[in-house]
């Protein structure tokens, strides 16, 4: 082989090695970034569901009132105000607040619903009956007992009552099916009263004729945070 030719070959190879050595850290950085964003997107997927309406409407952020456990003993609920871009449409609004409820509070000990439970669908009938269809994990991952099951149902019902005044009662389905109980104790056959002021329960003890308040369209106070910009869609 011509020595001059060989020198050229070695020089070319050395050049390739140099380029590869320079490019390698850049590649590694990119791979790491992608792995990290995949992790985040899984966790954010549910929260983004709650923002789906915000993409088309410039829905203002309002303080939504969500009910999680007040303490880790599961004995009572406490309201938490969360800034959410809530839709005016009652069905979208119900989905948004329920998905946020499912995503859970900052302190995971205060969850009321299993972390792997999902909302599959939400319907609103003309008579004010809301129908929430949850994944099977709502029942299978639920700690069995009257206290835990009632707390779970209460957190759903009170969260809807506080944010979606159009819902008068709520029927809970599990994977599209009617079920007898949530996890062996709390009855799911009959709907739960949600906004009882607009739908009095006839079996409730008779009270002096209560003034019927029409459902207010905006129960949550207007955004107290003027700087809150409409959320950017990633």
């Amino acid at each position: 082989m011509n020595p001059r030719w060989r020198a050229w070959l070695i020089a070319a190879l050395a050049g390739a090695v140099l380029i590869a050595a320079l490019y390698f850290p850049v590649l590694r950085k990119r791979v790491r970034q992608q792995a990290r964003s995949a992790e985040q997107s899984e966790e954010q997927a549910r929260r983004e569901l709650a923002q789906e309406a915000a993409a088309n409407a410039s829905a203002p952020r309002v303080k939504a009132k969500l009910f999680w456990a007040a303490n880790p003993d599961d004995s009572s609920l406490a309201p938490v105000m969360v800034d959410l871009p809530l839709s005016d449409d009652p069905v979208l609004r119900a989905k948004q607040v329920l998905n946020t409820l499912l995503a859970g509070p900052v302190d995971t000990d205060l969850r009321t619903l299993p972390p792997d439970a999902e909302l599959l669908a939400f319907y609103l009938l003309p008579d004010g009956t809301g129908i929430a269809d949850f994944s099977e994990t709502l029942a299978t991952s639920m700690p069995s007992g009257i206290q835990s099951e009632q707390l779970a149902v209460d957190s759903i019902v009170q969260t809807l009552a506080a944010n979606v005044p159009q819902i008068r009662r709520l029927k809970i389905l599990v994977h599209g099916q009617e079920v007898d109980t949530l996890a062996g104790h709390v009855d799911l056959l009959e709907p739960f009263p949600v906004n009882t002021k607009t739908a009095p329960a006839p079996f409730a003890p008779a009270k002096p004729a209560a003034v019927q308040t029409p459902p207010t369209t905006a129960p949550a106070p207007a955004s107290a945070n003027p700087q809150a910009a409409p959320p950017a869609k990633p």
Partner: protein, 202 residues
């Protein structure tokens, strides 16, 4: 007549603790103690099950519904709550069915008894709160499936919890729970007037 209902059983173990505790077994032992305490107060007692079988919710309710003037108590061990506490539940408000000509649909059998059940629950829970610190002072309301179809003053008593490591901690609570239930039912007795025509005139 008091109908005691040890919950779950058969293929349904109920709440299960990490230490292998099964709600269905513990409530059977608890029922035996509650039964003795009630009998010593002069009450007749029936049980919805006395072995490891699992009657349906409706079958269990039927046993009380077939009796005149019965009281129904379903016994549970929770998988949550502060260990060593006990809660009594009565049925929450029932949304009403459409007009029924004085007949009450099976799913609303508890409706005429809501107030009596809450009175009974408060008496029992009052006794329990004296013995088990950290327990609430009053009856709690919940949409308990078993209570809905029961046409009698009906309560659920739930002990916390199956998550304890040693079953002996639950066993030690049983005599106190049994005693409190028997005392509560005895205090309730004079208040128990069967609603005259359930579902008719209020």
């Amino acid at each position: 007549m008091v109908v005691l209902d040890p919950a779950h059983g058969g293929t349904d173990p109920g709440a299960r603790g990490a230490g292998g505790l099964r709600e269905s077994e513990i409530v059977l032992d608890l029922a035996a103690q509650v039964r003795r305490a009630l009998e010593s107060q002069g009450f007749q007692v029936m049980q919805t099950r006395s072995g490891n079988d699992n009657p349906s919710f409706d079958d269990r309710s039927s046993i009380a519904n077939a009796q005149h003037g019965a009281v129904f108590i379903t016994l549970h061990i929770a998988s949550t709550g502060i260990p060593g506490t006990v809660r009594t539940y009565a049925m929450s408000d029932l949304a009403a069915p459409a007009a029924t000509d004085g007949l009450i649909p099976w799913e609303f059998a508890q409706a005429p008894y809501l107030e009596l059940s809450r009175k009974l629950g408060n008496e029992v829970q009052g006794q329990l709160a004296l013995q088990f610190k950290g327990s609430p002072n009053n009856v709690q309301l919940a949409a308990v499936r078993q209570l809905r179809t029961t046409a009698a003053p009906a309560i659920a008593v739930e002990i916390s919890s199956v998550l304890i490591q040693d079953r002996a901690d639950l066993d030690r609570m049983m005599p106190g729970v049994a005693d409190a239930i028997a005392r509560g039912v005895a205090v309730f007795r004079p208040y128990y007037v069967t609603p005259v025509s359930p579902g008719g005139q209020p």
